[in-house]
């Protein structure tokens, strides 16, 4: 059988950042895949060097839309360590609260996208409708749905009132009910199982070897979570479980994320009950350093890493960001190998990238010398049709 090469990306709705996958196909089966990076170089790290520490918060926040709080908290932890600022306990609790609300919103978003990619649009609609509840909480606490801007050097910018606490608790109980239903749906519905089980396999030792992080690693039974390994904020005072799964496939990643939602609700309740009295921020001088600091943070997608070097002025000398998706790319290439073309959207979506723009994938048939262009919609349709022929049909439910 002749081999075909398909470029997937760099501009692609299922990719978190523009990235290019070159897939080598033999018939429907993938025999080789390469990841090519470097399409989305925005120069954020360099731009951070020409802004003050305070201005950088808003720049770093825009590294990623969905993990905006993760990046700022990770960066600000470095800056506060350099400035030797003692952040009030209440500020740390509010940061933890926003972090967990963000995790809930990110995982619900992922659940919807996973449903969409497998052709289960009912799940997509329901989980995105429920996600509005947590976005409302975030807007109420911080003032915005996506770029919260809650962090400032030395604390947080907005306090939490007793009334807000009540509203968040009521919304969380609603979401908890809904999540119980999603757990049932995800683990018992035969159509979901057929699309996710034994797809995108990542064995335990390969996950360790390729340095997978976050839910991708935890679904391969790797006990890795910065919140447990190296507690930051107030995670050492909270009681929650580290969720792992041992099926090593997309199904495992689904289960890990849905069960992590339940843990996040637990954390949010504990934080709101704990919330110590006191100030929400301390004053920190504009000039910081000299020195250097690193910090790790468990973002919804995995471990986020920041490095800041200060030289005693009001601007950092160097800022380095390692986002979690970057750490998961080597695993994607392993997961794609040996799988079917129809599973590509599911496997790539399973590391939790996010929607950006549209793209066309080109299928080149060497033998006939023909080129066929696949849009993302066509590829998705192809995946759904492929499974329909094998009796997995969501329209018959």
């Amino acid at each position: 059988m002749s081999k075909m090469t398909i470029p997937l990306g760099p501009q692609h709705p299922a990719l978190k950042e523009p990235v290019n996958f070159t897939l080598v196909l033999e018939g429907e089966q993938i025999t080789g895949s390469t990841v090519n990076l470097g399409y989305n170089h925005r120069g954020v790290e360099k731009a951070a060097e020409s802004r003050t520490f305070l201005q950088d918060i808003y720049l770093i926040e825009r590294v990623c839309g969905i993990c905006s709080h993760s990046h700022t908290t990770c960066y600000i932890t470095c800056v506060e360590e350099l400035a030797k600022a003692l952040v009030p306990e209440r500020a740390l609790a509010i940061r933890t609260l926003v972090a967990e609300l963000e995790r809930v919103h990110s995982h619900l978003l992922w659940l919807g996208i996973a449903g969409y990619e497998m052709g289960f649009e009912t799940l997509f609609m329901y989980s995105w409708r429920d996600r509005e509840q947590v976005l409302d909480c975030l807007e109420m606490v911080s003032g915005n749905r996506v770029h919260y801007g809650i962090n400032t050097i030395g604390g947080v910018r907005r306090d939490i009132t007793a009334e807000q606490k009540k509203i968040i608790l009521s919304k969380i109980s609603y979401l908890e009910e809904r999540t119980k239903y999603y757990v049932k749906l995800g683990t018992e519905e035969p159509t979901v199982l057929a699309r996710t089980q034994k797809v995108g396999m990542l064995p335990h030792d390969v996950a360790l070897e390729r340095g997978a992080v976050g839910p991708t690693a935890r679904a391969s039974a790797v006990k890795r979570d910065v919140r447990k390994d190296e507690p930051y904020l107030i995670y050492d005072k909270l009681d929650f479980n580290l969720i792992t799964h041992d099926t090593n496939d997309v199904f495992g990643r689904l289960v890990v994320r849905v069960l992590e939602l339940v843990e996040s609700y637990k954390i949010i309740r504990q934080v709101l009950n704990y919330l110590p009295e006191g100030p929400i921020a301390v004053k920190v001088p504009a000039k910081i350093g000299p020195g250097e600091a690193v910090s790790r943070y468990e973002a919804p997608r995995g471990e986020d890493f920041h490095y800041v070097k200060a030289n005693g002025t009001d601007k950092p000398e160097r800022v380095k960001v390692r986002a979690p998706t970057m750490a998961n790319y080597p695993s994607v290439s392993y997961m794609l190998d040996g799988g079917y073309l129809a599973d590509v959207p599911m496997v790539i979506a399973a590391i939790d990238p996010c929607m950006s723009c549209t793209d066309r994938a080109m299928v080149y048939d060497n033998k006939a010398g023909k080129v066929q262009i696949y849009g993302w919609d066509d590829l998705r349709k192809y995946g759904i049709e492929h499974y329909k022929k094998r009796g997995i049909d969501f329209s018959k439910m």
Binding site: L54, Q55, R129, E139, R158, K184, P190, M397
Partner: protein
Amino acid sequence: MKKPARALGEVLSNLFKEKATCNYPFEKAVVDARFRGRIAFESDKCIGCKMCVRACPAKAIEIILSAEQPAAAPVAEGAVPVPAKKKFDCIMSLDRCIYCAQCVDICPKKALISTQDFELAHTDRRTLILHYK
């Protein structure tokens, strides 16, 4: 354990639920009181310290001396003349503004205010540069 048609009951029960969406352009959308919208400026409170200009991450604010300055208060005989408080204008470039409201937080005299105004899209970029007097 496989149980088919798990979604069916949920779909049927949702037939009788209220709509989750709102008819936005025809119905007014409500934002929270903490929402960070267009920044408003009160000239009589401004002391021209330009803290906002230095803090703005997007370089969207300019504080300039007003063209018309208020006249100094009449000086009583023998008293030291008191100079009139200077008046400042603010040029806010909404096409650059990222609505972080850092300027509102940093202003020592609360001359900048965050409003709930969010319907700011425009076809002409020049109309987004507001001159507050």
